[in-house]
Amino acid sequence: MSELNRLTIAQARKGMAEGAFSSVELTQSCVDAMEARADLGAFITPTPEAALEAAAEADRKRAAGDEGALLGIPLGIKDLFCTEGVQTTAASRILEGFKPTYESTVTRNLLRDGAVFLGKLNLDEFAMGSSNTTSYYGNVVNPWQSSDKPNMQLVPGGSSGGSASAVAARLCLGATGTDTGGSIRQPAAFCGITGLKPTYGRCSRWGVVAFASSLDQAGPMARSVEDCGLMLGSMAGYDPMDTTSVDTPVPDYTAELGAGVKGLKIGIPQEYRVDGMPEEIEKLWMETAERLRAEGAEIVEISLPHTHAALPAYYIVAPAEASSNLARYDGVRYGFRSDAPEGLPEFSSLEEMYATTRGEGFGPEVQRRIMIGAYVLSAGFYDAYYNKARRVRTLIAQDFSRAFEQVDAILTPTTPSPAFGITEEPTGVEMYMNDVFTVPASMAGIPGISVPVGMSKDGLPLGVQLLGKPFEEVGLLRVAQAVETAADFTAAPQLMA
């Protein structure tokens, strides 16, 4: 088997431009890798035949002089993006068999630039989860294994767990993810890859199955900072179909890569030192700051006083918006519809059909969140919960605005732990703590990126998160690449293709 699947996007672009190999050869290498590592459960719907056809088309275009930014690059697509004619499930039973008759704006942008789609990647049901164990289509396995318990299957993180696992295992060169409270950054950290949540409004949400509309944002997941920049350049852009997409030009996100961090101010927020965080995570965080200082950055202690309020506010805002967004799944227009009760020709009422369909079509975590959402939005509670949370959100956003008057970027750990075992996963609120470092940036809408920088004592990858000013992803990627270069993270997972 060729190892073209192990190339970065930047390397593959160069190789194809120089004629060293074709997109068909590159794509075949990924298809072989997907088959070899089907046990990871990363894909819900692989589309190898369509991918090879698209690769052949990309090769024809290249021969005719086309130089699309992602021409012939094989990518995986999180199964939350509507793809025309290809089943789109959001990892839920309620959307089983749903074949969109339209293409999401982000995937349409990637196709415009010549990308080849390998298939639809697994995720937590409706992107609700931090371990990819809530999918109706099965768990995703992290390709990394702990040296302490080598036979234990580990979670890839979530919700973009299939994306993270597939990129880490070299099944695809990059993947799309979506991030509502950490769903790109946390799995990227758990799987030792790089994942960028852009500023809210940078990528269109049109055609992306909605979870919490004031938080959802699509972004790239790949094996280098540069690759994330290349993908974002294609994914981003104003879209009249999404009223929250922002009409600012899409810059070259790789423009400042290599410029270093000399003279930049990097903030270290004291509130991210939480109780119970393993010493090795604190140590890697401080080592990363030291490395940036050695490269000429100034390290500044800062305060983000409302950090602790972000997670509880998130668990009001996100379920509230989810309960509203998921009202559309009623068994009438698309997806799953329950059968009438046994022995009866029909449901006794329309409402019974709705409630039975939703009770059978949604999994337990989705049902919990919908019920929480319905409760906090109900008469008499709206102000005490939803409006209270939105006021707290203002305070969180103000914290970041003040911090960015002092610093150019903020450095934090991405997660409070490395990946955990599928059978050891925490439950309830304890599970929600996975996102304690990623949720604040989501609540403020600012961009964040996770970069792998080291290993836990058990040989599992750990990441740091960099946060930047709104719409200044170019500068954020510059700092992220300095972190990447200084960390020189070259370890590879055991279950790699």
């Binding site: 922002v246 509880p312 009001i316 519809r337 029909e346 409630a355 919990r368 409760y375 409006n387 709104p470």
Partner: protein
């Protein structure tokens, strides 16, 4: 706040979810834990703080009020679980 079985039933009704009887006590416990967690927000003073409505400060754009899509019933109905001609079909609800 502690959530009772009755509150679970009320939330399930609002959310149009059939919840099995044997699951109601478990759900009451789970929902109570989540609400207990979020209620720590009560300790934060939000007097004179406006609720955040848009993280990017965007204002709604105006556009021409004109038809820009439609007239493709086959695409709209392609995923319908049940249909009659160009309509979605649902169980009969009028006696």
């Amino acid at each position: 706040m502690s959530i009772t079985r009755e509150t679970v039933e009320q939330a399930a009704r609002l959310a149009r979810l059939t919840v099995a009887d044997e699951d109601k006590d478990r759900l009451a416990g789970e929902l109570s834990a989540i609400l207990g967690f979020v209620e720590q927000l009560d300790e934060i003073n939000t007097d004179n703080v406006e609720p955040l409505t848009s993280v990017v400060g965007a204002t709604a754009r105006m556009r021409k009020d004109e038809v820009n899509a439609g007239d493709y019933p086959e695409r709209v109905l392609a995923n319908a679980p049940d249909r009659v001609t160009d309509f979605y079909a649902v169980p009969k609800v009028v006696e």
